[in-house]
């Protein structure tokens, strides 16, 4: 039997319906990112299975032309139904958009899949979804090799800088900086997060003020180092009812 089909299991990072009624989804799987089209899918049962944030098993057909792969069948492996709740919804978007940005098609990474899946699970269940989103965003960045420099000033190289750099999201020494220094809890977080486990980081949530500093640093750093994240443009804490 010659076969161009394969079964792939992954989480729907993105979903878009074309006016013709096709569903285009991007999956993150342990074997990498994967973009698929389900032709006419919006009128059938695939519409339900291929929902945003669903964990799905898809039968993928690679068309001979080398076009976008086609999703022939799909079944649900797991749905995190609480992700539509206002307190959790925007953070699920943020993690998914970051994962989409950080990982490329063809990059095999079981760790990326596990981290992202764990992040979504946490956002869906944890009492403090904002903190889950912050920790997992930084961990996703680190896994993809993007770690903000904390040892030296981004401008002059002075060691142990303590001030934010509003342009790069990296850190500046006192003479180079225009803004006050990070609070000690934020400084501690930024210096230690790459080495620490998710569990340890989750156990020491920052204050409201500290999170605001962290979000700002994250936003700048991602914008400069990785690319544009639409979710930032939506006022996340306001949407979440903060």
């Amino acid at each position: 039997m010659r076969s161009r089909t394969a079964n792939r299991s992954g989480i729907v990072l993105r979903r878009h319906v074309t006016p013709a009624g096709d569903i285009i989804v991007t999956l993150l799987t342990p074997q990498g990112k994967l973009k698929l089209i389900a032709r006419g899918g919006v009128r059938g049962p695939l519409s339900s299975v291929l929902s945003l944030f669903h964990h799905v098993l898809v039968q993928v057909y690679q068309t001979p032309g080398g076009d976008l792969a086609t999703a022939k069948q799909a079944s649900l492996e797991g749905a995190l139904t609480t992700l539509a709740v206002p307190e959790r919804y925007p953070y699920a978007h943020l993690l998914s958009e970051l994962a989409d940005l950080l990982f490329q098609e063809g990059e095999f990474s079981e760790a990326a899949f596990e981290l992202y899946a764990g992040g979504l699970r946490g956002v869906s269940r944890h009492a403090d979804p904002e903190w889950v989103a912050l920790v997992m965003s930084y961990k996703l960045l680190a896994l993809a090799g993007f770690v903000p420099q904390t040892a030296f000033c981004a401008l002059c190289g002075t060691p142990e800088p303590e001030h934010p750099d509003p342009h790069s999201g990296q850190m500046l020494c006192r003479p180079c900086a225009a803004q006050p220094a990070y609070s000690p809890e934020v400084l501690g977080y930024l210096r230690s997060f790459p080495r620490q486990s998710v569990r340890v980081l989750m156990e020491a949530p920052l204050s409201e003020a500290g999170r605001t500093e962290l979000w700002r640093a994250l936003e700048r750093f991602v914008a400069v180092q990785v690319g544009r994240v639409q979710s930032w443009r939506v006022n996340l804490p306001q949407l979440a009812g903060a």
């Binding site: 074309t18 049962p45 649900l76 539509a84 919804y89 958009e97 979710s231 006022n235 996340l236």
Partner: protein
């Protein structure tokens, strides 16, 4: 061979239409080439007329060519019911069902942070003043994650305001068999099951003893 520029331009414009790939655009262009001049002029005119005449209703944001849309200006509609939908096309779909006699409110989208769409990008603020005369707001956004999230957001927003709220039913589509329904839908069809009441009085003839 170089194609004539006006043919190329037509194919390019046609292929910008959603759901029309380059091959369909080319086929469409050749088809149009074979049609009489009047037909082309009528299509071209319909495009310009529609663009000139149509705009959103200032009350419900449905599409209209008048000051207010046909629903908003019909005193026969139930003014106490507002059905909130995602897109103007949803209004047409619901009207076609013939089951609804209330008013509408068209959001023109769903909340989707990863596409940069927050609540402020939708026509939500304009819904609030309309609540004073409403008894029930039906949240009829789609049953996708985005539609559900938008409904939950509106529920959170509107509940303190004391208006009655309802959500369009999840369940089996008409004509469906259980074994072809997905698990999530089937679960909601069961948990949302409707109690049956003997609306009709006891049947005049005794029920058969099978």
């Amino acid at each position: 061979m170089k194609y004539p520029p006006s043919l190329v331009a037509l194919i390019r414009e046609l292929s910008r239409l959603p759901g029309i790939g380059p091959k369909s655009a080319q086929r469409l262009a050749f088809h149009l080439f074979e049609q009489p001049r009047e037909d082309i002029e009528r299509l071209s005119g319909a495009l310009l007329d529609a663009k000139r005449d149509l705009h959103t209703c200032p009350v419900c944001f449905n599409i209209t060519d008048a000051d207010r849309c046909d629903v908003c200006s019909d005193p026969g509609r139930d003014q106490a019911l507002i059905c909130v939908v995602e897109e103007p096309g949803d209004v047409i779909a619901i009207e076609r069902s013939g089951e609804y006699q209330g008013l509408y409110h068209v959001l023109h989208g769903v909340i989707s942070p990863m596409n940069g769409v927050g609540p402020d990008k939708l026509y939500i603020k304009a819904l609030l003043p309309r609540l004073s005369t409403a008894q029930e707001v039906i949240l009829a956004t789609g049953t996708t994650v985005e539609g559900e999230a938008t409904a939950l957001y509106l529920q959170r927003l509107l509940e303190p305001l004391g208006v009655g709220l309802s959500r369009i039913a999840y369940g089996l589509p008409v004509g469906g068999a259980l074994e072809y329904a997905d698990e999530v839908t089937l679960g909601r069809a069961l948990s949302g099951r409707q109690q049956l009441h003997t609306a009709q009085p006891a049947p005049s003839r005794p029920a058969p003893a099978t």
